[in-house]
């Protein structure tokens, strides 16, 4: 079946998960061809670990890696002296499905090639 499954995960569902549990939860779903949409972002350590784990899981023929996109918002510090970007949504999907991404400061548009969804390992 040429379909696309998207998994939406709230931040509450992740708050008690360890970093590695989060990483494997993402990778296992993406390897099945799903696109994971998470509320919030990953830490620096988790982002690095996600790349490293992805490299270990690549099997050349069926799973060629991931594409990661984020939407951020500006947050101001308690006293209002400094601003920083905070990730509000993280999208992770199979690299061979996620084809076109147009990103602006508060807008993200993505096209997934569902003809490839049956090629992803299941």
């Amino acid at each position: 079946m040429n379909g696309l499954k998207m998994d939406f995960i709230s931040s509450e569902a992740l708050e008690n998960a360890s970093s590695m549990e989060k990483i494997y939860m993402i990778i296992e779903r993406v390897k099945k061809g799903n696109i994971v949409v998470m509320e919030g972002g990953l830490t620096n350590y988790e982002r690095t670990e996600l790349i490293e784990t992805t490299m270990r899981e690549i099997d050349i023929e069926n799973f060629v890696g991931i594409d990661v996109h984020t939407l951020e918002k500006d947050t101001t510090s308690f006293l209002g002296f400094s601003k920083k970007k905070t990730v509000v949504i993280t999208i992770v999907g199979p690299a061979n499905l996620m084809k076109t991404v147009k990103k602006q400061s508060n807008f993200l548009s993505m096209v997934a090639d569902i003809t490839k969804s049956d090629e992803v390992i299941s």
Binding site: N44, T48, T54, R56, I58, D67, N96
Partner: protein, 205 residues
């Protein structure tokens, strides 16, 4: 007392080994830059570069490179790392004329190289983040590398490479990384490398 502590700190600082890692996407020009630096100061190349992505698939090291000007001297080891990406598809290599077996082998080696590059983040003391000026710099790879360097308090310079290309856009890189030092260069044409060396003296000494 303060002077004595500074004296001790300087002694230890001089003994500290400086490992400068070249990080960035595949094909951003890391090995070309490593070769240009090595060529300028020790007269030889470090590795082979090509237009096929993931040409560098294992970390290459050049020890004891010394750069200096009238006032300053910096001795360091160059750590040229494989390009970091979130995906490696052997089919992309076929477009460059590689046979299928060769492309698959290159892809497998590339995944191992990316893991090795990430592991080296534990051992570098400074980083040149090499960014292709003709591409969008706001990528997960660049964000992840910068986030790691900031968290580990490793000093780094964003090197905006390939400024000799007509579609290079330095302003875009500066606007994306306003809080970081951006040095535009062409590693291939050896343009503005002196600006980079000046910044390396400041950041890594």
């Amino acid at each position: 007392m303060v002077k004595f502590l500074d004296y001790l700190r300087n002694i230890f600082a001089k003994d500290k080994k400086v490992n400068i890692g070249l990080y960035g996407h595949p094909n951003s020009g890391k090995t070309t830059l490593a070769n240009s630096i090595a060529h300028d100061w020790i007269g030889n190349d470090i590795g082979q570069s090509s237009n096929v992505p993931h040409e560098t698939r294992s970390v290459m090291k050049q020890e004891k490179v010394v750069i200096e000007n009238d006032d300053t001297r910096l001795e360091f080891d160059i750590i040229d790392t494989p390009g970091i990406s979130t995906k490696v598809d052997y089919k992309n290599f076929l477009e460059y004329g590689l046979e299928e077996d060769e492309a698959k082998s290159r892809a497998k080696e590339a995944t191992k190289g990316i893991i090795e590059a990430i592991k080296w983040l534990d051992d570098v003391t400074g980083v040149l983040l090499v960014v292709d000026s003709t591409m969008d710099p706001l990528t997960q790879t660049n964000i992840t590398i910068i986030g790691n360097l900031e968290a580990r308090k490793i000093p780094f310079i964003v090197v905006a490479n390939k400024i000799d290309h007509s579609d290079a856009n330095i302003d875009r890189i500066i606007s994306v990384f306003p809080q970081h030092t951006v040095i535009p260069i062409s590693a291939l044409k050896k343009e503005k490398l002196d600006d980079l060396y000046e910044e390396m003296f400041k950041k890594f000494n």
